[in-house]
Amino acid sequence: MANMRRVTAGVAIAASMALLAACSSNEEPEGGATSGATGGAAEPVTLTWWHNGVAGDSGENSMGDYWDKVAADYMAANPNVTIEIEQIQNEDLQRTRIPTALQSGDAPDLFQQWGGGEMAAQAEAGYLMDLSDVLADDIERLGGGVAPWQVGEVTYGLPYQFAVEGIWYRKSLFEQAGITAEPTTMDELADAVDKLKAADITPIAVGAADGWPAAHWWYNFALRSCSQDVVAAAGTTLDFSDPCWLDAGTQLEEFIATKPFQDQFMSTVAQVGATSSAGMVANGTAAMELMGQWNYFVYQGFTDGSDEANQALLDDLDWFPMPATDGGAGDPSAAMGGGDGFSCYVDAPAECADFLAYIVSDDVQRGYAEAVGGLPVAPAAADAIASPVLQEIAQTTSSAAYVQLWMDTLLGPNVGGAMNDGIVNIFNGTGDAQGVVNAMIAAAATA
């Protein structure tokens, strides 16, 4: 390993010397915050960019295509910059490619960043560029959505998308079951579940085989039972002694006992195939699903692709925020959410931060909402969201008392993974509320 690192270091030194030589005549100290201003005088710079916009089952890749366009526009305005893009599947990127690239010292300049505990670990290891001063204006412009990409006061990345999760449902099935209003409390949700069951409709689909979709139910109970401070503190201290963590599991146990989910939910995946939880909602065999805003697009993947079929689905698809539970220390209007962003590698050229600022600029964010249908972070881009249901999600995101980052992202892969496994065990009947807390405490003790 040591030898290997030395070789890599040698190569890196050689490369950076070449880069130094190339950059030595560069007069611009900060890479020029205004795109295009650097002009012809600047020396050539190459940025490598890894993102998770890959083609789906249909072969379409609206996000990858949009990022290609963004890079091309930036290169046209900054002829000295060459951007080399690599599109990598999300889990590969997060679990394998980025960690190994960071370890090797040969990391991409700009890469996908999910924020939270994992980012904090990367920052602690010194892999990430501090963007606090360089992009101070952009951080202020984007507002509170940046928080998950900050450790203390230091910003290590910027999000281009951020949204809360909630419950997707089919209006026609609600009508069929005689449900007239969107549930706003857990009692009303239980009532809706009963009515749907009476009408012989599967009330809620959950992709428990994938683990995390099941875990999100627990997150929402924890969000209501634990105060914002307790959750935030747990993110850094990994202290789970507050009884609210146990309470979240107990509430989940009670909820599962009402049998709101489809049969054999442990064998259902979230997104792949017509029998997945998303497929069930898209095909109208299940009425509800707790999911993030991305399911708007996942559902559309189950139509035959024609505009009529898509429109018919979208006309029948609606969304409401996760209902509030009774009691608990959390704010009833708080919401679980998360997003996607990018970080610059610590040794990346200064142009990386400049390009990141361009990605999250109001115009590019607006284009992102239009071309990809994502939910932009920049407040000025909110008007570009066309779909009423996505507008509603954006509205809920901005009006929430606070948005709590996904618990597994917040706690990082080790404790977060242990938590998810523990929650899944409640679902499959091999564990209980205390088991989740024990698993989290055990994992925290190894960190």
Partner: protein, 349 residues
């Protein structure tokens, strides 16, 4: 390289001495340039052995040594390894009996030891069941097919087909079959039976047996083909002679065919045991060992906890345990059961 060279030099006179002691052996013709000869010989050795040795050192020895090193540290795979904390054999202790720290031992037993032993017990259950289930099935099929009939080649291809299929493709196929709304469930309903409550693969009790069924389907073809190959080497004269002496079909199989393909069976068992210890791809594709770890194996557990939980030091310890286990079992098997085959390669017993 120096060790090799040293040992190489010392063998040269030994060979000479042996040659002279053997007497009648033709003596190597004396040359004027013994040194150039030696250089040439070493160059040849380097040329032929070098590339393989480099590959072996890079992709086998180096990773094994690295894993052994990582396993002694508390390391999350994100921070630089140089900053990782050295904790000795604590990772191994955590897997085997919950660690040495009394404060966390109880929690670690549930969180780490139990899943570890659960995964390991699945590996050994698969070894045992392979011998108890796959071996008789494969033998029976091989003995039945070991005769001339129409469509023999076709039948053999069909039997071998699952083994040739990629693990991922086969895994996804079975996922579709065992889907809650898949044909397996429909079939059970059509004959009036229930499918497992939690689903075929995810039911904490039945999941393992579903996976063992899939593994048997996947690998029994290899055993059958191996046994058929072994049977084709058994002389027909023996069988005819036995038949003339009045032996029944069963007696011929039991007393002639099966003993004569003993070496093949023992090699298959060896492959099966090693394969069972390293079983990974199928259980991973099906759902990473199951949501409750109901069909986890030591390899899937290692991957889950090492990569996905970013507990790299602990994951490396699991890897080393798996390596030692495979190594010891392979050596023990070689030294005991395969020994008679190796000692008398021509003797079919």
């Amino acid at each position: 390289m120096t060790a090799l060279e040293a040992s190489g030099r010392s063998t040269v006179p030994a060979v000479d001495a042996q040659a002279s002691a053997a007497g009648p052996r033709p003596v190597t013709p004396a040359t004027d340039h013994p040194r150039r000869d030696t250089v040439r010989k070493w160059a040849e050795i380097a040329l032929f052995v070098g590339p393989a040795l480099v590959l072996f050192l890079t992709f086998v020895v180096y990773p094994v040594v690295s894993a052994a090193r990582f396993s002694l540290y508390k390391w999350n795979g994100v921070s630089q390894f140089s900053d990782a904390e050295f904790i000795g054999f604590e990772n191994y202790a955590r897997a085997l009996f919950g660690g040495t720290d009394p404060a966390t031992q109880e929690a670690f037993v549930t969180a780490y030891s139990e899943p570890f032993w659960q995964a390991l017990s699945h590996n050994f259950a698969i070894i045992f069941l392979s011998m108890a289930v796959q071996l008789p099935i494969a033998l029976l099929v091989a003995l039945t097919l070991n005769r001339k009939f129409r469509g023999r080649a076709f039948t053999r291809v069909v039997i071998f087909a699952p083994y040739v299929l990629s693990e991922v493709i086969a895994g996804i196929m079975w996922l579709i079959i065992f889907d809650p709304n898949g044909i397996a469930t429909e079939f059970m309903q059509s004959i009036g039976l229930d499918s497992p409550a939690g689903g075929w693969l995810e039911d904490p009790t039945w999941g393992f047996w579903t996976v063992f069924f899939i593994i048997t389907w996947k690998y029994v073809g290899l055993a059958i083909i191996l046994f058929l190959a072994g049977l084709s080497g058994v002389s027909e004269d023996l069988q005819e002679a036995a038949a003339i002496d009045g032996a029944s079909w069963w007696q011929i199989q039991w007393r002639i065919n099966i003993p004569l393909i003993g070496p093949t069976i023992r090699i298959w068992a060896f492959l099966s045991i090693i394969g069972s210890i390293q079983l990974f791809d199928m259980v991973w594709v099906l759902n990473r060992g199951g949501t409750a770890g109901q069909y986890s194996t030591i390899a899937s557990y290692m991957m889950e906890i090492g990569f996905f939980r970013a507990d790299w030091g602990y994951g490396s310890a699991i890897a080393v345990i798996m390596f030692i286990l495979s190594f010891v079992i392979a050596l023990a098997y070689m030294a005991t059961i395969l020994r008679r085959d190796n000692a008398h390669p021509r003797k079919a017993r």
